[in-house]
Amino acid sequence: MADHTHSSHHITSRKTYFFVFAALMVLTVLTWLVAQVDLGWANDLVALTIAFTKMMLVLLFFMHVRHSTRMTILTAAAGFFWLAIMLFYTLTDYFTRGASVLPVLGK
């Protein structure tokens, strides 16, 4: 079996878990606080950045991606990549439609 490294029985300490938990809570409060302010176009960007950070914390520490095989990381990444494909290409249609609604040439 060529591709896998031996998975370690790594034991993360309780302290690490606690810090991750605390960070997640802080970020939750943060995202709530930021949401009270109108940042215009950045509203979603900030909210999603925070959510993304929280996700990475959960993935890396709680789901032990930090200590997993390359195969696991690849699998998880593929999931998100394909989601991006679906969103990107579908929205490409919607965002470039304006042009075809006014398809008059030479006017």
Binding site: A2, H4, M71, G79, Y89, T92, D93, Y94
Partner: protein, 557 residues
């Protein structure tokens, strides 16, 4: 492929086959089948279910063809016809073609071909069969209560609002069936990664395994999207939500994006396994390593990945952005390249081969020819200017039957004929089976070639009645379907016959190489007598030690 120790002291002569313990006689009784976790038995269970659905789908095909004999709809009412082609499409696609090769041949062979005792998750595998049947029951329930009339594509808002047929239960049936597909795909990926025999590196895998692997990737990444899409359709219909309903501010085109995001890759779920089968058949019957093995292997993965980027080519005339259409068109051409590479490599494999014309090989050669036509017309319809004319005409119907029937089913039947002696230890009659291969080929072309012409002449699909000038070609098509039907029915009889009366096949009737031919026919429950160790790449027909084994050939008929 070669193993260091196949089964040194295991009985090898054909006479002892029946006394030997194998997966078929290891255990008796209906429960030993219904509760089995043996991938080979589950494959047989699937074979039965899938064949039943194929028969059902074919009956609907026959009804379609009879209705279209005359321009006026006189055999059945328009409503009935709409239900007939919908059930034909739904059953053929979701309950036959998608599971056919993976769940039957893949299930049976994948663990054996990689030298494993079973799939990684045998219980999940059994669950997959039950879930498949549960989904089937939902669909059949809809069928007996009057069917569905949305077309297999379930386009909204027709399916969510206007149809008054059993859309919800059919959608749920397909939704549930999706889980069974996912279970199979997931199981295959894990098995290929984690359970390969010692020495069996990625580039020693048979191409069938590569294609099953690529198929499984598509299954895992694509199927959940059709699941959520159909769930939304069911929910929208049941609860009057507005997600796809323009009257409530929803967008019906969103449905099409979500549907085709899965359903285009799904056509590769259908064709990739078949391509894998063809690689095995061509190598075995030309007694030659597949030309450009690595490239063919990568082509499978390439098709799987690129196949996700082209779904918009089903929506060229829906009012999709013309720029999106352009992108989808060019990407569709890219995905044709790996397919083309495969076709050329198979053909080149024949060069300097030692070709024998056993039944499976006839199917394989039929596949190459028909898939080429189907694929080329696929690329034609991927060309924007051409598609606006032929979209939703019989040209499309012809295209996809060429790839699905001429491609996938030819591959499936070829594979079934090739591995039948391995699965049951018996041979089927050679003449009859060759005849049926011929009938399928001729009947197929007679049925579907006229449809290309019909399509270009402008006959729209899903038409219950049509203008009289289209009649000639329709009659031709129906006549062809009759021949094709006979070709499909014949195997049912001789396969059944062979189970009891067929000649004992021996372990390696074709003189092929591959781990599956190194074990007994039928194989024992755990597949091998000793753990195989792989020392060479696949399809090594030129090595001396392999050479000897080819004398075992038991010519058919």
């Amino acid at each position: 492929m070669n193993t260091s120790a196949a089964h040194p002291s295991a009985p090898t002569t054909a006479e002892t086959v029946s006394e030997r313990k194998n997966y078929l006689n290891a255990d008796y009784g209906i429960l030993s089948w219904l509760l089995t976790r043996d991938h080979k038995r589950i494959a047989i269970l699937y074979l039965i279910s899938v064949s039943a659905f194929f028969a059902l789908g074919s009956i609907f095909a026959a009804l379609i063809r009879f209705e279209l004999l005359t321009p006026e709809g006189d055999l059945m009412q328009a409503d009935t016809y709409n239900r007939v082609f919908t059930m034909h499409g739904v059953i053929m696609v979701f309950f036959f073609l998608i599971p056919a090769i993976p769940a039957v041949l893949g299930n049976f062979l994948l663990p054996i071909m990689i030298g494993a005792k079973d799939l990684a998750m045998p219980k999940l595998n059994l669950a997959s069969w039950y879930v498949y049947n549960l989904g089937g029951i939902f669909t059949l329930w809809a069928l007996v209560h009057g069917g569905v009339d949305t077309g297999w594509t379930f386009y909204t808002p027709f399916s969510t609002t206007y149809s008054n047929t059993y859309v919800i239960s059919t959608a749920l049936g397909v939704f549930i069936n999706g889980f069974s597909t996912i279970f199979t795909g997931l199981n295959f990926i894990v098995t290929v990664h984690r359970m390969r025999a010692p020495g069996l590196s990625w580039f020693r895998l048979p191409l069938f395994i590569w294609s099953m692997y690529a198929t499984s990737l598509v299954i895992v990444l694509g199927t959940p999207v059709i699941a959520i899409t159909l769930l939304l359709v069911a929910a929208e219909r049941a609860f009057g939500l507005g997600i796809f309903d323009p009257r409530l501010g929803g967008d019906p085109i969103l449905f099409q994006h979500m549907f085709w995001f899965y359903s285009h890759p799904a056509v590769y779920i259908m064709i990739l396994p078949s391509m894998g089968v063809i690689s095995e058949l061509v190598a075995a019957f030309a007694r030659k390593r597949i030309f450009g093995y690595r490239i063919v292997a990568f082509a499978s993965v390439g098709i799987a990945v690129l196949g996700f980027l082209v779904w918009g080519h089903h929506m060229f005339v829906t009012g999709q952005s013309m720029y999106a259409a352009t992108v989808f068109s060019v990407l569709s051409m890219l995905v044709a390249v790996p397919s083309a590479v495969k076709v050329f490599n198979w053909t080149a494999t024949l060069y300097e081969g030692s070709i024998s014309y056993q039944t499976p090989m006839l199917y394989a050669l039929g596949f190459i020819g028909l898939f080429t036509i189907g694929g080329l017309t696929g690329v034609m319809v991927a060309t924007l200017g051409f598609d606006i004319h032929v979209h939703d005409t019989y040209f499309i119907v012809a295209h996809f039957h060429y790839v699905m029937v001429g491609g996938t089913i030819m591959g499936y039947l070829g594979g079934l004929h090739y591995w039948w002696p391995k699965m049951f230890g018996r041979m089927y009659p050679g003449f009859l089976s060759r005849l049926s291969a011929l009938l399928v080929f001729v009947g197929f072309n007679l049925t579907f070639f006229p449809q290309f012409l019909l399509g270009y002449m402008g006959m729209p699909r899903r038409y219950w009645s049509y203008p009289p000038e289209f009649q000639v070609l329709n009659v031709l098509s129906t006549a062809g379907a009759t021949v094709l039907g006979v070709g499909f029915i014949l195997p049912i009889f001789y396969f059944a016959w062979s189970l009891k009366f067929g000649k004992k096949a021996g372990d390696n009737p074709w003189g092929a190489v591959g781990l599956e031919w190194d074990t007994t026919s039928p194989p024992p429950t755990l597949n091998f007598y000793t753990q195989p160790v792989v020392t060479a790449p696949p399809y090594e027909y030129n090595r001396e030690d392999v050479h000897n084994r080819t004398t075992q050939e038991a010519p058919v008929g």
